[in-house]
């Protein structure tokens, strides 16, 4: 996992400034749960995850759910009576399905007891194809889960091997089918740009994903993160560094294959067959929603305050056991910071940004972005919205810099 950001110290009580919770309920409210366990650590992964299942009291696969419930107690008391019902829950990791399905369900029950769940609540878990069974999937669905995101990554065995993924390609199909049978909305994740992956390998992976007929597909360019095994392999020259041009070509291919199969993009790395198939929880990250992140290293955002928990599961559990907030640091965003975030996040989604929400610098930049083919000209004029073109999606960071006046 990357280092936590620098921020201000967070109070032991976890207390939030009153103005940040004043408008709770006017925006969607979500709960994220980070499960920090994996059976194997993948070479490219820099998430906060551990392959030991016994990390001490409150930090083992068998006791983690109780620790998470303790943080939910804290959340309930910090947010107070004004707390809204929960619109979305997302369980990520790590590998959430390293916990018994009953424990995941127990956490969802805990959320329902403390906050209440909206009628149309979306409850997602991530899963590895080889860590679920038809029985466990049914147990999740019966316990309130509505959605599952399966880490497929690739259909090419040699690519999976380079990524240290342990599942067989055929296992993904079985998992998707079983999840659908259990009544879950399905999504598969793909990774492109892995060293040794040919354009044909990638096309076959896209075709395979489409043939599974999930509601939702995510496709991520492989990023070599500092401190990972992959970074060391690249540094030593054992593995070729992923190439931006190759990844651009593969992104364009993804857009081509997925749109031909009826999928439309709604965020730079996410496609869905119907607007309803979007992951509403993730949408919240890009549109300024509030959420409480439960678990070690989890990030939260409530009304312009962002904070993040200590990284290690043991330190996390110890904090909660002593009655203190596990937050390691936090920041209260200035008006300018909130605007910067609105632009950098909003530009990534299909709905884009309202031109009128931009400042003078941003508004003046729009014409140039249209001229350079990065922003859709029709939408800019007719709808007064900044919506990225295909080329713009690949250069979204440059678009953000131009909208904020960092680049001219």
């Amino acid at each position: 996992m990357p280092r936590l950001p620098d921020g201000d110290p967070a109070p032991a009580s976890g207390e939030l400034p009153s103005q940040s919770i004043a408008a709770l309920g006017s925006r969607p409210f979500g709960i994220y749960l980070h499960v920090p366990f994996c059976r194997v650590r993948c070479g490219y992964c820099d998430f906060n995850t551990y392959t030991l299942t016994e990390l001490g009291p409150g930090a083992s696969t068998s006791t983690f759910a109780d620790t998470a419930l303790a943080e939910l107690d804290l959340a309930r008391s910090v947010l107070g009576d004004a707390v809204p019902r929960v619109d979305t829950v997302f369980v990520g990791g790590g590998t959430p399905t390293m916990l018994p399905a009953a424990d995941l369900v127990r956490v969802v029950d805990g959320i329902r007891e403390r906050f209440g769940l909206a009628d149309d609540v979306e409850v997602t878990t991530e899963a590895n194809p080889d860590s679920v069974t038809p029985e466990s999937l049914r147990e999740l669905a019966d316990g309130g889960f509505t959605r599952i995101s399966l880490g497929m990554q690739s259909a090419a065995p040699h690519v999976l091997a380079t990524l240290d993924r342990t599942h067989e390609p055929a296992g993904v199909g079985r998992a998707v089918a079983a999840a659908r049978d259990a009544g879950l909305v399905t999504s598969v994740d793909l990774i492109y740009g892995t060293p040794g992956e040919s354009l044909d390998d990638w096309r076959r992976s896209l075709d395979a994903a489409v043939s599974l007929a999930p509601e939702h597909i995510s496709a991520y360019a492989l990023v070599v993160e500092e401190g990972t095994k992959l970074a060391a392999q690249v540094r030593r020259g054992e593995v070729e560094r992923p190439d931006d041009d190759d990844e651009a070509t593969k992104y364009e291919l993804a857009e081509e294959v997925l749109s031909a199969a009826g999928f439309g993009w709604y965020e730079v790395s996410n496609w869905t067959r119907t607007p309803a198939g979007r992951c509403r929880h993730n949408d919240g990250y890009w549109t300024g929603a509030d959420w409480w992140g439960v678990g070690p290293g989890a990030h939260s955002h409530v009304g312009g305050v962002r904070w993040w928990n200590v990284k290690h599961p043991r330190a996390y559990a110890d904090s909660l056991a002593s009655g203190a907030s596990p937050a390691a640091g936090r920041e209260t965003l200035t008006v300018e910071q909130r605007r910067d975030e609105q632009v950098l996040l909003g530009v990534r989604v299909r709905d884009g940004l309202a031109v009128d929400d931009l400042d003078d610098v941003g508004r003046r930049a729009v014409a140039g972005l249209v001229a350079d083919g990065l922003v859709d000209g029709v939408a800019a004029v007719r709808d007064r919205r900044v919506i990225l073109t295909l080329r713009g999606r690949l250069l979204a960071d440059a678009v953000v810099r131009r909208l904020l006046g960092v680049d001219t």
Partner: protein, 622 residues
Amino acid sequence: MSPRARTVLQPHATPPEAIRNFCIIAHIDHGKSTLADRMLQITGVVDDRAMRAQYLDRMDIERERGITIKSQAVRMPWETVDAEGRTGDFILNMIDTPGHVDFTYEVSRSLAASEGAVLLVDAAQGIEAQTLANLYLAMENDLTIVPVLNKIDLPAAQPEKYAEELAGLIGCEPEDCLMVSGKTGVGVEPLLDEIVRQIPHPVGDPNAPARAMIFDSVYDTYRGVVTYVRVVDGNLNPREKIIMMSTRATHELLEIGVISPEPVPGKGLGVGEVGYLITGVKDVRQSRVGDTVTNERTPAAEGLGGYRDPKPMVFSGLFPIDGSDYPLLRDALDKLKLNDAALVYEPETSVALGFGFRCGFLGLLHLEIVRERLEREFDLDLISTQPNVVYDVTMDDGSVIVVTNPSEFPYGKVAEVREPVVKSTILAPSEFIGAIMELCQGKRGQLLGMDYLSEDRVELRYSLPLAEVVFDFFDQLKSRTRGYASLDYQEAGDQVADLVKVDILLQGENVDAFSSVVHKDKAYAYGNMMAGKLKELIPRQQFEVPIQAAIGARVIARENIRAIRKDVLAKCYGGDISRKRKLLEKQKAGKKRMKNIGTVEVPPEAFIAALSSDDGGDTKKK
């Protein structure tokens, strides 16, 4: 060790017959400073407690690099038996000499102030090119040479071999070479005795109008300029008015004295004596090395001759990496100039590098020393452009343009270009002859001669364009000879050459900092090298950026920086937002540092890397 002299002769009252003025000729790390330290101790002018290594080298940089930039003169008493067998008290004036190629003129003045020279050579390494050049200079000045092999305590010392070499060079017998160890002190007393015996005493007319030669001039924050002189005729006295003969400027002698080894004010200086003057001037330009001092009341009719204005040979643009440091750089140069008569500079504006100064130096080492002092003493981060020489360009209409900055080199209608040449001396083990000849030929050199110093060491003499020497010659020479070759060079006029200016264009815009004047045959290689280098260093933009090397309107090399196609981070979920925003905030703060060449944004680091990589302007001399 206790001083041997029983009575110490006083300045102004020392007969010339009791004086011996000598300098030490040695290569950078052959142990000159250590030997000087031992002499100070043995003659008792510094007690053991106050002794610090390399006492005479004052500046940090000099001490760290083990080299002496500015010379000083120390007066040491010594009792011994002279050449006629008479026992007596003597005064030894040790005139320290700069040991590097750029300071040849200063060396020549130190030599002119002496009657003899100790030729000090490392017994494990043998003579080096610069030492040889200075030895020839000393011999031309009729100085008595006392050959000495140093570091005889080293296991790797080969005194017999190098004694043969020295004997062959100066025409003495190998057994005439003295063997010393500056480190242990062995042989230093006999060396002092031999200095008295072999080196002639100074001769001058005590009744003639005063004439003293300035051989060094140093700015001191508290005292102003301290001027070191050697009195030739007459005498100089406190509080009298003196005249600098080259400028006719008059100053009052506020203080006059000798260094032993700290300044000791005295009653004046007589014939043959060496000491210092303080007149209250604040700039070494008012007290120039090589000038003659006389007194105002009875001025001498003629100066001592040999005076020369310092002439910058190598130019380079110095730019602060942080543009807001420009005023600091200007103040720093103004201060350094007080102590450096050879440093010249004027403001320069570069599209690529912003505001800076075009500076003239005596040579590469001088450049490097100035730059290092600016960075160290004034805490500046600097980038320097590829050093260049001065070109005289004659246009078709007969007008002549003196070019000190390649970006000012004229286009078209050029009748003739003249470039400075140097006579260089290269000493190396004979196994490297082939490699050296190949290098020199590649650098447009002409072989002037070759001699064997010993069975396996050879001296090669080449005429070379100075521009080639300042480009990367020294580094190449060192790498092709595994560090064994040494180099010395002296300016030797100029020559007509087929030179062109190569410009580097970024999307059609000239990047002035990379313009270079090169020989026609090398234009293509330079253009390719620079275009290739910039292609690697300049980040990809949203559009394709051509990099061209051109002579006038003719493009001779081209590279393309392909347009960037993807820069977006694949994932941006809850935990990524703070980091991503902070990165953006950092980019906002770093924005002002981007340089715009047309519509191409280039981080200054790219230009800096292009100017400072190994095959570029690196001028490190070890």
